[in-house]
């Protein structure tokens, strides 16, 4: 088709990305959830009529790679294209058909040109509340985790299903805000439709079929070409992590098969599903696998389905990386964030220069609930991060969110909100794994309770027993630690802080890269000068 030359394609692709970016701004602007409007914990996409991704908003975090197109395909499987009408809105928060936990609602709108179905607009966003226990890893089954919405039409031909909304409002703590956020997504979906139809009109196109074929074809070819550069072979990597208790670590195993133009992930050997909300549904496992490959092979190209086609993933049923219902999955990130590290570990055998040593992730979190002096109760959520892993050319960045992208709460805001006093929040010297390139530093935080009444605290903490592995002879990053009044505590259990009690949180450092002997003298000196490494370190 002569219309789709190198210029027209680029212009139209940009336009489609702008349409989902516009929708993203609309969500930021209209949603109540601070995870949406501050942490970009949402996604907006445009797919073709078969659920092949054409454009995804630029800022969306890796957890959403491939999830919304899959939800669109589940929609097609359940309703069939003939079962969809203009004005229908389909919704689900099913972890297996959506994004991996109940907190995200995925919303799909079929786009019609005249009477013909030509595309789908879809959005996923983190709800302010979805009922159930709040951010607790203690849930043993999904039934404890909140209101579960099967894939269903919540608007039919523009008409809202009042029964659904009444049920939803009854199940959640913040009915106005949760319902409001669903409508914010519906508005964003409508916006995508509006922009896409305008673009088709402007370019005289009847549908997106030829565009989808061409764009997805080009990215698929680019990914295949990139994979071709990776030597064929089977590359294996295994890693142990904290587990639920000392002496019972989880095992993560990956067998990565590179053959010609394809990459296959097999997670056989990974530990079994757990009676805690740390299980990682397969869609999230897939997203994190694809993310790792994109980082290593094609970081600059916008997401679409073609890019994903040469990447296949399997994980044993009812393992940590493919739990089946009714497994609890709320804190899936605590497990899923390990996946890209496994991929890098395996790829390091053949392309060490393109990957990174392990980071001090998954993300850390400290949730407190208590009562202010005026009798008002409050809950507050603080995120912390470890160091990045080192690469073949650079030290890891210090204290940074990866593979997610959650901002930390400013100390001044945290202290204004809750009766806490931070004694320090500082880089953690010597925590980065040694190497030719050093892992990024974690951080040390000491928080004192100024509350007259006890504060209940829970944590999300990983790598407190097994540090972030180094690569190519690099050393492991320092493990993290959670202490109360100077004593290491069980970070999987809830604790109560009395007045004056102090929590010390030390996040893990990133793994090093290459041998420490090969570290350049000036880098060693800079580390000493800046205090990243101190002389008393062994």
């Amino acid at each position: 088709m002569s219309k789709l030359d190198a210029v027209t394609l680029e212009v139209i692709w940009n336009r489609m990305i702008a349409s989902v970016d516009e929708a993203a701004k609309a969500i930021v602007r209209t949603s109540f959830s601070t995870l949406s409007n501050e942490a970009n914990d949402f996604a907006c996409v445009l797919t073709d009529v078969d659920g092949q991704l054409l454009a995804q908003n630029s800022g969306s975090i890796p957890s959403f790679i491939g999830t919304l197109p899959a939800t669109v395909r589940h929609t097609l499987a359940k309703f069939g294209s003939e079962g969809l009408s203009p004005g229908d809105i389909i919704c689900t928060n099913d972890p297996w058909q959506g994004t991996g936990h109940l907190n995200d609602c995925s919303i799909v709108r079929p786009i019609f040109k005249g009477n013909r179905l030509i595309a789908f607009a879809a959005t996923a966003s983190h709800m302010p509340d979805i009922g159930g226990r709040i951010r607790s890893v203690e849930a043993r089954e999904i039934f404890e985790e909140g209101f579960h919405i099967p894939l269903m039409k919540i608007l039919r031909a523009g008409e809202a299903d009042q029964t659904f909304f009444e049920l939803l409002r009854t199940q959640v703590r913040t009915p106005e805000q949760t319902e409001g956020d669903i409508y914010a997504q519906i508005t964003a979906n409508y916006l995508i439709e509006d922009r896409v139809l305008a673009m088709l009109g402007e370019y005289g196109l009847e549908d997106l079929a030829a565009l989808s074929l061409e764009l997805n074809g080009r990215t698929e070819a680019a990914m295949r070409a990139a994979i071709r550069e990776v030597p064929d072979g089977i590359y294996e990597y295994e890693m142990q992590t904290d587990g639920l208790a000392a002496g019972a670590p989880f095992t993560f195993a990956l067998k990565l098969t590179v053959r010609g133009e394809t990459i296959h992930f097999d997670f056989a050997g990974t530990s079994a599903v757990q009676p805690r909300a740390i299980n990682c549904p397969f869609c999230y496992t897939y997203a994190m696998s694809a993310y790792a490959i994109k980082c290593a092979l094609l970081p600059d190209i916008p997401n679409n389905s073609g890019m994903l086609r040469p990447i296949t993933v399997e994980a044993p049923e009812n393992s940590l990386l493919n739990p089946l219902p009714p497994a609890s999955v709320g804190a899936r990130a605590s497990t899923g964030h390990y996946v890209p590290i496994l991929a890098f570990g395996a790829l390091a055998a053949v392309m060490p220069e393109r990957v990174m040593a392990a980071a001090g992730s998954p993300l850390w979190n400290c949730t407190q609930s208590g009562v202010r002096p005026n009798g008002q109760s409050y809950a507050s959520n603080l995120f912390f991060n470890g160091g990045m892993g080192a690469t073949a050319t650079a030290d890891g960045e210090n204290a940074i969110s990866w593979p997610s992208n959650l901002s930390c709460t400013p100390v001044e805001v945290a202290e204004q909100y809750a009766p806490l006093l931070f004694h320090y929040k500082r880089l953690r010297p010597n925590s980065g794994g040694g190497g030719q390139y050093r892992g990024g530093l974690g951080e040390d935080i000491l928080i004192e309770s100024l509350s007259d009444s006890p504060i209940a605290v829970t944590f999300m903490a990983e790598r407190t027993r097994y540090g972030a592995p180094g690569l190519a002879g690099g050393e492991d990053g320092e493990v993290g630690s959670v202490q109360i009044n100077g004593v290491e505590v069980d970070n999987r259990a809830q604790h109560h802080l009395e007045t004056g009690a102090r929590i010390m949180i030390a996040t893990p450092g990133g793994g090093g890269y290459g041998s420490r002997q090969d570290r350049r003298d000036d880098h060693v000196q800079t580390d000493q000068k800046l205090g990243y490494e101190t002389k008393d370190a062994t």
């Binding site: 190198a6 970016d21 990243y532």
Partner: protein
């Protein structure tokens, strides 16, 4: 007698000077290459030329208004002062830890912006305020004496002091600043409670450290410029453009130079707002495109909107998050890596890209013949016939058309396109990049681009305006006279203006009204003094406040009704909040108590008037100076097109495109069917055809 106003705008490539003769309603303009080693040099050259041309006595200049990218460049190039940071014990790393976010999700090597104060120059002292402003631990003054010694030994020339919760209680910061200044009188000191008194320690520190980093430079540069202007017997006060679009005096910028970072773009936005007023437009999309970047700014009503945060010195591809957060009042605009120097190339997928990397002034576009080898947007514009080689940039540049075509031919061969298609592709693509950014920005503000008029300025703005407008569904484009030096003209319009802020934490239900009123009055008195120092005695006062629903993590800046406030004002303030919430979030605020986090005042003196006497224009019978082949997508090929001389066009006479309208500093391109005329205000007004032709 004082009849002249002088505007000076130093940009990355060019220094623009405009002299306005108020008596005769005339402007003299001059564009000269910036002299980075000694920026005042280019200024004085241009001023001498402009004054010399008509033997204007320097004493007749009433005021001098100045904008510069000098300080921004010092941040980008990391060429500021050796800067140290002093913090509360336990928090010297806040500056480095930042918000723990990445600006690029897929680049494993993505780094946080490099700190302006490295870790070995970050000191801590024992002291502590609580969130409510009460002292938890006293300031250890003894320790300060040791720190002063360390600062001296480390050869530091500027210091930022950022203590926790100093926005609530600044006494420790002040005491520390005073003590260190006593010991080291030469050291420049910046207090966070003074530069950016707002909650959030990282952003406050980032702003204060940036201020400290450029403070010695600003002091030296401004003193030298003042001195050299005085030596030329230009004794009129030197006024400086702020990022907010207001003016202030040298003393204020010496204290807080960070306020001047966005002065050039602010002046451009002011110029566009003025053009909008002259044309009676309610909704203007200001579009300024230069060599490296394009800026877009929405203007609804009289003035551009103000934002209270922006990012300076984005390091990587202008990506959001790769710069330094700065908390000051600044004209709200978006900046895109799209300019005449943007380089065209094919990416890994074989698709065409234009920018964001730029050939800049050196080596520049291939057509400039200064060593540039990669085809740029400007080269494409030459190949399409939009730009004419003859008399380009007033004859300052000898255009190498053959080299320009050769470079484009090579790329066209790689892309499998005809050279003409490729050139149009580059033009179209850079427009699409700008349109995409504009659409997303406009969506963020909840507005519709079709309601706007595009006002095109900058060297490349008028060349790209017509087809950019078409992409956005905009029906009208306005191109002012001297569009290429519009920012310098904007300087002459700017009112004296002061923005001040102070922390003020209180729930609305429990407001102590006399205390609030006193706090506003204290800020207003401080601001009024600055206005008076610029020689103005009148100012409009706007009160604002940062407000939120209790429990929310972010504040809205709300325009409030005028004071004085008392017990009965509560309802009005709550209504103002509800309205701002509705505008920003398109919904009613949740039914939760409202809290105030900070108060702000903005004092603005009346706008200056610049009225051109257009009757003096030479009316010539035929403004057409020639014909050349120009490509238009509507004709899908080059057609013979009229070239008009802007200065020779008669007010009110109607023309129809295709056409190119030339003046010394820029060229306006009008597509087939576009109708245009010079308005009564002297602006070129272009109406796009009702139904855009279908794209090729």
């Amino acid at each position: 007698m004082t009849r002249y106003a002088l505007g000076i705008d130093i940009g990355g490539t060019f220094t623009d000077v405009v002299l306005f003769d108020k008596e005769q309603g005339r402007r003299l303009t001059r564009k000269t290459l910036t002299t980075p080693g000694d920026p005042a040099e280019a200024v004085l050259q241009a001023v001498d030329q402009v004054l010399g041309e008509e033997s204007i006595p320097p004493a007749e200049i009433e005021r001098v208004v100045h904008a510069t990218t000098l300080f921004t460049n010092a941040l980008i190039e990391r060429k500021g002062a050796r800067t140290a940071l002093l913090t509360t014990e336990g928090f010297r790393d806040s500056l480095e830890i930042g918000r723990e976010r990445k600006y690029d999700l897929y680049d494993l090597a993505a780094k946080k912006p490099r700190q302006l104060a490295p870790r070995d120059l970050r000191f801590e002292v024992d002291e502590r305020m609580l969130a409510d402003g009460t002292v938890h631990r006293p300031l250890d003054t003894g320790r300060l004496d040791q720190i002063a010694k360390d600062l001296e030994n480390a050869d530091v020339s500027s210091l930022a002091i950022v203590f926790l919760h100093s926005y609530r209680n600044d006494s420790h910061e002040r005491a520390a600043g005073e003590r260190i200044s006593e010991l080291l009188p030469e050291l420049a000191v910046s207090l966070s409670s003074d530069v950016a008194p707002e909650i959030r320690e990282f952003e406050r520190a980032s702003t204060t450290v940036a201020n400290a980093y450029i403070k010695p430079l600003a002091r030296d540069y401004l003193d030298a410029l003042n001195e050299r202007l005085s030596a030329r017997e230009i004794t009129a006060p030197l006024l400086l453009m702020l990022s907010s679009g207001g003016l202030t005096h040298v003393g204020e910028v010496r204290r807080s130079p960070v306020q001047m970072l966005e002065s050039g773009p602010a002046a451009g936005a002011l110029a566009a707002a003025d053009i909008g007023r002259a044309e009676g437009l309610d909704h203007v999309l200001a579009f300024d495109m230069g060599g490296t970047t394009a800026k877009l700014c929405l203007i609804d009503g009289e003035e551009p909107e103000i934002a209270y945060r922006f990012e300076a010195a984005r390091e990587i591809r202008f990506a959001e998050g790769s710069g330094l957060p700065i908390r000051i009042s600044a004209v709200e605009l978006i900046e895109i890596g799209a300019g005449g120097g943007s380089i065209a190339r094919l990416d890994g997928l074989g698709l065409l890209k234009a920018g964001p990397d730029s050939a800049g002034a050196v080596p520049g576009p291939v057509a400039y013949g200064r060593g540039g080898e990669l085809p740029t947007v400007t080269d494409a514009d030459f190949a399409l016939g939009y730009l004419g080689a003859k008399g380009f940039a007033g004859g300052a540049i000898d255009v190498d058309l053959a080299g320009c075509h050769a470079a484009l031919d090579t790329l066209a061969g790689q892309a499998g396109l005809s050279p003409q298609k490729l050139a149009w592709g580059v033009h179209d693509l850079v427009n699409e990049n700008m349109a995409s950014a504009a659409r997303v920005h406009i969506a963020e503000k909840g507005r519709d681009p079709r309601n706007y008029t595009l006002v095109a300025t900058g060297g490349a703005g008028p060349v790209h305006a017509y087809y950019l407008a078409r992409k956005l569904g905009i029906k009208r484009v306005v191109c002012p006279r001297n569009a290429g030096v519009a920012s310098a003209l904007g300087l002459l319009l700017a009112p004296a203006r002061v923005d001040r802020t102070a922390a003020f934490a209180a729930e609305m239900d429990a407001m102590d009204w006399p205390v609030l009123e006193a706090a506003y009055q204290a800020l207003e008195d401080e601001a009024r003094q600055v206005i008076a120092d610029t020689g103005k005695d009148q100012a409009r006062v706007q009160r604002l406040a940062d407000m939120r629903n209790v429990g929310q993590g972010f504040e809205l800046v709300v325009n409030l009704p005028p004071g004085p406030y008392h017990q009965g004002s509560g309802k009005l303030l709550q209504e103002a909040y509800a309205q701002a919430y509705q505008t920003h979030f398109t919904r009613q605020p949740p039914n939760v108590p409202i809290a105030m986090a900070a108060i702000r005042v903005r004092l603005t003196a009346p706008l200056e008037q610049i009225v051109d006497d257009l009757a003096q224009r030479p009316d010539q019978p035929n403004p057409q100076t020639g014909i050349r082949d120009v490509y238009f997508p509507e004709t899908d090929g080059a057609v013979e097109t009229a070239v008009l001389d802007r200065a020779a066009m008669t007010i009110g006479e109607n023309f129809t495109g295709p056409a190119v309208v030339e003046e010394a500093e820029s060229t306006m391109v009008i597509g087939p069917g576009g109708r245009f005329h010079v308005s009564d205000s002297g602006n070129l007004v272009i109406e796009l055809p009702e139904e855009p032709e279908e794209n090729p």
